[in-house]
Amino acid sequence: MTPILDVCNLGIKFGGLQALDDFNVQVANREIVGLIGPNGAGKTTVFNLLTNVYSPSRGTIHLTGKSTKGKSTHEVTQFGIARTFQNIRLFKNVSVLENVMTAFHNAMDYSMFSAILRLPSYRKQEKAARKLALELLDVFDLREMADTLAGSLPYGAQRKLEIARALATNPKVLLLDEPAAGMNPSETSELMMTIKDIRDKFDIAIILIEHDMNLVMGICERILVLNYGLIIAQGKPEEIKNNPIVIEAYLGQQRGE
């Protein structure tokens, strides 16, 4: 089976620092892959490269067989890679519903002209987008708060809204950057269920960066461990759990702190 996402030899240098090197991963559809590693290992850099926020010094990225080279970030999103951010980036002064509807941007195609004159194409598409957005909010139990400003949501809800917004771009691969950060254990286990749910419901592959090992071990089918910009181990959760190199990387860091 051909992988949906195929990353080959990805690497980037910042100044003289090799932030990421030799990064290879193939992700199959409906797979949930975990990306772990100590702080500064280059996890978020992987996401930034996958979404072309940075352009790689070398290596290739293919989504469903097509290269993303030379595309700008918004084109990569349209192409099918959506993401969330470690330090939540919502449209804070905009309602929850509008946050999601903003991400439906490319699902609609009416022109500025028909928007100004409120032509049928505008009415029809807006109505449909609104309905879809509300359904998406249902998945995350956010419908009740559709009219609230995103910035005034509680923290956990903000994280969920960010995932909802990413899903609204209709991705094939969803990148979650520390989705459980700042959540309490019950919220985290709820989130685990939701992540599995959306994988099944939307039929997508998910790559997630997370420090919460319960979550990672609980839902990831495969785990990659990064340290100093290199993959030092990969495998099933139980293999990773007992891998001496991984333990060394984490313990070494803990000793250093």
């Binding site: 959506a82 919502l90 509807m101 609609m108 009416y110 928007a115 100004i116």
Partner: protein, 335 residues
């Protein structure tokens, strides 16, 4: 039941149209009924083009979240382009004037794109400075060109800007910008203000929307320039300096960034206040500047914040409040 009628779209359009017509009739009544003198009547024309300037700047400033300081430059391009056109042709007013305004708008819009493409790569204060620079360059260029009349100004422009024309243009500007903002395009614009990185990650092209919004903003500034030219009938490049850009920005920020009604109110008030203070001629600019500082210190988000007024829901809530009042009184009586 009342609520559902008032929130019904068709009913709201009707209500808004009615309100606009009533306002127009009121202004016509005031100005031609001998209640206001000629001088006071002309204030409505000034208010009109200032509203267009403020609302259009608010689009790129309050909604797109950029800080351009060269709005007067776009206004001047529109003013000169439309004036030169109307001076060159001789057509019936109802064809010549709209065409002149459109040409003014398009000329300004194209200037907006030319300036926007390089400038919008910069952020925040740098964008402010670079647009300020472009604005000054436009002024100096106009000052040194032959066909614009240079420092002597452009004279002999026909007086086409009547209250009705200005009113029509103001309504169209507000309508277009308002409806545009309530669409996928408007959401894209606002998302860029909120968080550029997240907007891009949501599939929105920053370059496209920044440039287009900038061009639309410049277009309306150009239309306002056209109205201005055909009202004063003489154009002087020194009226389009950096201070004019600042004046428009002050209207926008004072009204509230991202509030169209705020821009409308503050453009109207700031046009009238200096005239009201005319009897204190010497002190009026001092008072004006002090007011500006005081409002900013006590209400940094502007008078209206991001609030936007909508007639339907406003009447709706007024009704509910009145009903609540009546019910409470009735309740008190019953006891």
């Amino acid at each position: 039941m009342k609520q559902s009628i008032l929130r019904n779209n068709k009913f709201r359009y009707l209500l808004n149209t009615l309100a606009v017509v009533l306002l127009y009739l009121l202004i016509i009544f005031l100005t031609s009924g001998g209640i206001l003198n000629r001088y006071q009547s002309n204030m409505f024309i000034q208010i009109g083009y200032n509203i267009i300037l403020a609302v259009s700047l608010n689009l790129s400033c309050g909604f797109l979240g950029q800080l351009p300081l060269g709005h007067a430059g776009f206004m001047s391009v529109g003013a000169y382009a439309s004036a030169l056109f109307s001076m060159a042709v001789d057509l019936p007013v109802y064809i010549e004037f709209p065409a002149a305004l459109l040409i003014g708008g398009i000329a300004a819009g194209i200037t907006g794109i030319i300036i926007g493409l390089p400038a919008l790569r910069l952020r925040g204060d740098y964008l402010a400075i670079i647009t300020l620079g472009f604005g000054e360059i436009i002024r100096v260029v106009i000052l040194n060109l032959k066909f614009t009349g240079g420092a002597f100004g452009l004279r002999g422009i026909e007086k086409h800007s009547s209250i009705s024309w200005v009113f029509l243009c103001t309504v169209i500007t507000i309508f277009v910008i308002h409806t545009l903002l309530k669409s996928r395009h408007g959401r894209a614009v606002i998302s860029i203000r909120e968080d550029e990185i997240a907007a891009e990650a949501s599939g929105i092209s920053l370059t496209y929307y920044k440039t287009v919004t900038f061009a639309i903003s410049a277009f309306f500034a150009g239309v306002a320039g056209g109205l201005y030219a055909h009202y004063l009938c003489i154009l002087d490049p020194s009226n389009f300096g950096f201070m004019k850009s600042v004046e428009i920005l002050v209207m926008v920020v004072l009204g509230g960034l991202g509030s169209i009604i705020g821009s409308v109110v503050s453009a109207s008030v700031l046009t009238v206040i200096p005239e009201l203070l005319r009897s204190f001629a010497d002190y009026r600019m001092v008072i004006y500047s002090l007011l500006l500082i005081i409002v900013m210190i006590f209400k940094p988000s502007g008078l209206f914040g991001r609030y936007d007024f909508s007639l339907g829901p406003a009447i709706d809530s007024a009704f509910r409040r009145i009903r609540g009042l009546i019910l409470r009184k009735g309740g008190a009586k019953n006891k």
